[in-house]
Symmetry: C2
Subunit: 190 residues, 2 copies
Amino acid sequence: MTGAGDDTKHLAEQTISGEKVYGGVLLHVHRDSVLLPDGKPATREYIDHPGAVAIVPIVDGGMILLERQFRYPLGTVMVEIPAGKIDPGEDPFDTARRELLEETGQTAAEWRHLGTIHPLVAYSNEHIELFLATGLTATQAAALDDGEHLETFMLPLSEALEWIRDGRITDSKTMIGLMWAERLRAGLWS
Amino acid sequence: MTGAGDDTKHLAEQTISGEKVYGGVLLHVHRDSVLLPDGKPATREYIDHPGAVAIVPIVDGGMILLERQFRYPLGTVMVEIPAGKIDPGEDPFDTARRELLEETGQTAAEWRHLGTIHPLVAYSNEHIELFLATGLTATQAAALDDGEHLETFMLPLSEALEWIRDGRITDSKTMIGLMWAERLRAGLWS
């Protein structure tokens, strides 16, 4: 299940030593000394992350449930699919159910794991497990985490794809989730 | 050109103070004190990044030029489209031409900017400018940066998409670039 092929050991880097150089509220930064494939030394810095989930929630009739959320690093409100961090020891399926309910107040009749996304391989080990949620039912009011402020709205899948094309949607997990859902809808993927 | 709508000021967070808490070889981490929309204080941590480019290089006949590269944070070799960081003051188009030549030895007859990707909005301000490069010509041997080790190979676009579906390609910019190229090829987008 790797596209890297069998003979990729000659590309590998070897860890010599490592330390945690910053431990914050959210971010945990590591700096390791490594040996490159040619034997030269190098420094690798990266964020250690517990992993996350993202959910493509499809409402009856093909509408997608999306969120508007202020993203501080970018200083702007982004349009995204629901997502959240996996708690220690939590099954990603349970994270997905929990986050969809907390952020949108919806439960889904059918859940499906679509795939794994690595959003930023250069300096984060974060993986995002991507789910498709269909058969949505409004169950309760959204119960946002303390300090979490977001709004939900609905958009036809066709229009959400147009928002990717014209630059109104630029969040990577959202772009991938919507294009993946469209390939399923079109029968290109099963 | 924002999908956030006109009335999103009530979601915004206000910066009170900020400091750089880690300045490394690659990573620059900031920690800011902010006021949330409800007036409560919070801490925001994020990576400050100069931005990057990624290129979907299409060879004659619809083959895609891909790379295998060891990604230390994940401890594995990843399959990716060519990409690289924007130098200070550099035009992203020039970055794209430079990175394609350095990493693959190819020049392209036609260049097109497809869009912008924000790979990780929760804790990085990185933006990736996505380009399509067609009419490739092998110009020189690849001239990798010091410490850069990667291999290139070609795959039909249809097979590369299958690698997304079955989990052999999980890098976000690569997933987006390939699915975008496929929508152009299929005439869904122009």
